[in-house]
């Protein structure tokens, strides 16, 4: 099983990753996707639904769906915030998420101003231990 965990990202127990982009949003928009472990467990994705731009999300809210032939999983927003961008390319090429989960397979960007702090999320090493625990 594929299990790449980049060290510069933050993680959740529901297998989302969070990247601080220092981008256009005031507090730095957060980029969010699902981990290599998650895409590998799901198998070939056939459909990905991303949240609409402008949608306000609360922390832990189900906001995207990733679907394989035999399973469908919700993706939860790691923090509260407003969606400022989504990855439209996934509509026609859901395989991007299988091929490049931390790059071309990103799901959406969130302006999380006032929506909590990424420091509450897991570090790469925490997530790796979490995966190891789950495997047992």
């Amino acid at each position: 099983m594929s299990n790449n965990v980049p060290s510069d990202l933050k993680y959740t127990k529901s297998h989302e990753w969070v990247r601080q982009t220092h981008g256009e949003a005031p507090n730095g928009a957060l980029e969010i996707g699902i981990t290599d472990h998650a895409q590998s467990a799901l198998g070939d994705l056939v459909f990905v639904e991303v949240p609409d731009v402008g949608r306000a999300l609360s922390a832990g809210e189900a906001c995207a769906v990733v679907e394989s032939v035999k399973a469908a999983s919700d993706v939860y927003s790691p923090l509260a915030g407003k969606v400022v961008a989504n990855n439209g390319a996934l509509a026609n090429k859901p395989e991007l998420l299988n091929e490049d989960p931390y790059g071309a397979g990103w799901l959406f960007r969130l302006d999380a101003t006032g929506g909590g702090n990424v420091s509450g999320l897991m570090s790469a090493s925490d997530y790796e231990s979490f995966l190891a625990e789950e495997a047992e």
């Binding site: 056939v46 459909f47 679907e67 032939v69 859901p94």
Partner: protein
């Protein structure tokens, strides 16, 4: 069976101007016409073929199916037993087939339905039955909607949660959601019983009810049922019985006696109406006295010697109507005929021989080296084999074994359900299979077990003898081809 020969899509046989003209009505003189702006411009692209072409095409398609009439079909949780031919031919008597549902109340047909209601009441231990729901899932819907209506009628509006064991069929949580409830899932213990401590922790003043299947989807009888009923009732909730596995206990124990308040039955399972390639079913519901006012309409009543439909006037608190007329009447008629053929003695033997066949098959497969998921338990009318060891050792999955069974001339058991047991096969032989057929099935699985060791590729690339090889489901879902657009498409 039609092997390795593709049957063209019907549109490929079509030629403009061809037709089964003896089926067309003769033209009627007159001037009736659709106004131009509401008229269809081009005729619909339906096939144009001769009657023989149609007959041959659909007959050949039928030959590409496994069915009970042609194959052992041990699909767990589906009760694929023999569908007696008499049930079909008698339900298709011209008077039954030709009757319009809104004509005067038909005393012959209603007599059958009334007696069917009475027999189902007796078998389930429930004082009232409605035959209206058109499938198991709609019966579930009716049951949970009645639970909601009951609490509302008492102004007990805080009850917003339905408890569902993790082993439950996916329809249970889906139904609870459709009825506007929040689903609370609870685990099962290592022996397949509901985790009582988890149940105690889950119930609260928000508990509307619990949905249970007994015997459960794990193929074992829920032994703590009386205790479960007490816990839920004490919390003010109601008990819903999913009748998926009623075949296992017919005449042995009645859901009403176990403490259930509402039950749906799958007449297409327990009472052997045809599965028809995926329907029609019938999902009659039975209820305790306190839920009777909420039953879905219509129901058959009797005033003196005359049968009639009960309506909103009789049951003003009913959850309403779930179908355009009166449910799957013709399916209910088949169930009635089946029950009269079986009668008192036959009904009890259903559960007895379903259990005998399941327990025999489980022991034989264990002796061949297969691992039962609950080896310390009696099988109900079905049981689970888990192939997790085989998967580790030989890299073959439950799906591979299922596909390979097709090559041996057996329909596969249910795979990957229940979700709790890894690499599982849920096997339900039913009471109508002979010992020789069970033995042949065991022989096939013994051969497949040999192949796992010596030639696992035989499994992973199976089936080899069906009209098609394994299908590309990922392509099916990604490059959606859902209607015929010609061969170029």
């Amino acid at each position: 069976m039609q092997l390795n020969s593709r049957e063209p899509v019907i549109f490929e046989l079509s030629k403009p101007g061809r037709g089964a003209v003896t089926q067309f009505p003769p033209p009627v003189a007159g001037t009736a016409q659709v106004p131009a702006h509401l008229r269809r411009q081009a005729p619909p692209a339906l096939p144009e073929v001769s009657e023989l072409q149609a007959v041959r095409h659909f007959t050949r398609l039928s030959q590409m199916n496994f069915s009970i009439d042609t194959h052992f079909y041990p699909l767990g949780s589906c009760t694929m037993k023999y569908n007696p031919k008499a049930c079909n031919s008698l339900a298709m008597l011209p008077e039954f087939l030709g009757r319009h549902p809104l004509g005067p109340e038909p005393q012959g047909f209603l007599a059958c339905m009334y007696e069917l209601q009475e027999m189902l009441q007796e078998i389930t231990g429930m004082p009232a039955v409605s035959l209206t729901p058109m499938a198991g899932a709609q019966g579930e819907f009716a049951g949970v909607a009645m639970i909601r209506a009951y609490h509302r009628a008492r102004n007990d509006t805080a009850r917003t949660e339905i408890i569902v064991p993790q082993a439950a069929h996916g329809t249970n949580p889906a139904t609870a959601t459709m009825c506007g409830f929040v689903v609370k899932e609870i685990p099962c213990d290592a022996n397949g019983d509901v985790d009582i401590e988890a149940l105690k922790a889950a119930v609260s003043p928000a508990t509307a009810g619990i949905m249970l299947t007994n015997p459960s989807t794990l193929g074992v009888f829920e032994r703590k049922i009386v205790q479960i009923a007490r816990i839920v009732h004490d919390a003010g909730g109601l008990l819903y019985y999913d009748g998926a596995n009623l075949n296992a206990i017919l005449g042995k124990v009645r859901p009403g006696d176990m403490g259930f308040d509402v039950i749906h039955m799958n007449l297409h399972k327990t009472f052997s109406t045809p599965h028809g390639g995926g329907g029609p079913g019938s999902g009659a519901v039975g209820v305790s006295a306190r839920l009777k006012p909420f039953l879905p309409l219509p129901i058959v009543g009797k005033d003196g010697a005359r049968y009639r439909w009960l309506t909103e006037r009789d049951l003003p608190q009913s959850i309403g109507r779930l179908s355009g007329f009166m449910g799957n009447a013709g399916v209910n008629l088949r169930a009635y005929i089946y029950m009269r053929l079986l009668g008192r003695e036959g009904m009890v033997r259903v559960a007895e021989f379903a259990a005998l066949n399941a327990n025999y098959l489980m022991k034989r497969l264990q002796a061949l080296g297969f691992e039962a998921a609950y080896p310390k338990r009696r099988a109900s009318h079905e049981f689970i084999i888990t192939l997790k060891q085989e998967q580790k050792a030989y890299h073959v999955s439950a799906m591979d074994v299922a596909k390979r069974l097709l090559d041996f001339g057996f329909h596969a058991p249910t795979t990957y359900f229940p979700l709790l047991v890894p690499e599982c096969l849920l096997i339900e032989p039913t009471e109508t299979e002979a010992k020789e057929d069970l033995d042949r099935f065991c022989d096939a699985l013994a051969s497949i077990r040999e192949e796992m060791r010596n030639d696992p590729e035989k499994l992973t690339s199976a089936p080899h003898t069906m009209p098609v090889r394994r299908l590309d489901d990922v392509r099916a879902a990604k490059q959606l081809d859902l209607i015929w657009k010609g061969n170029a498409a």
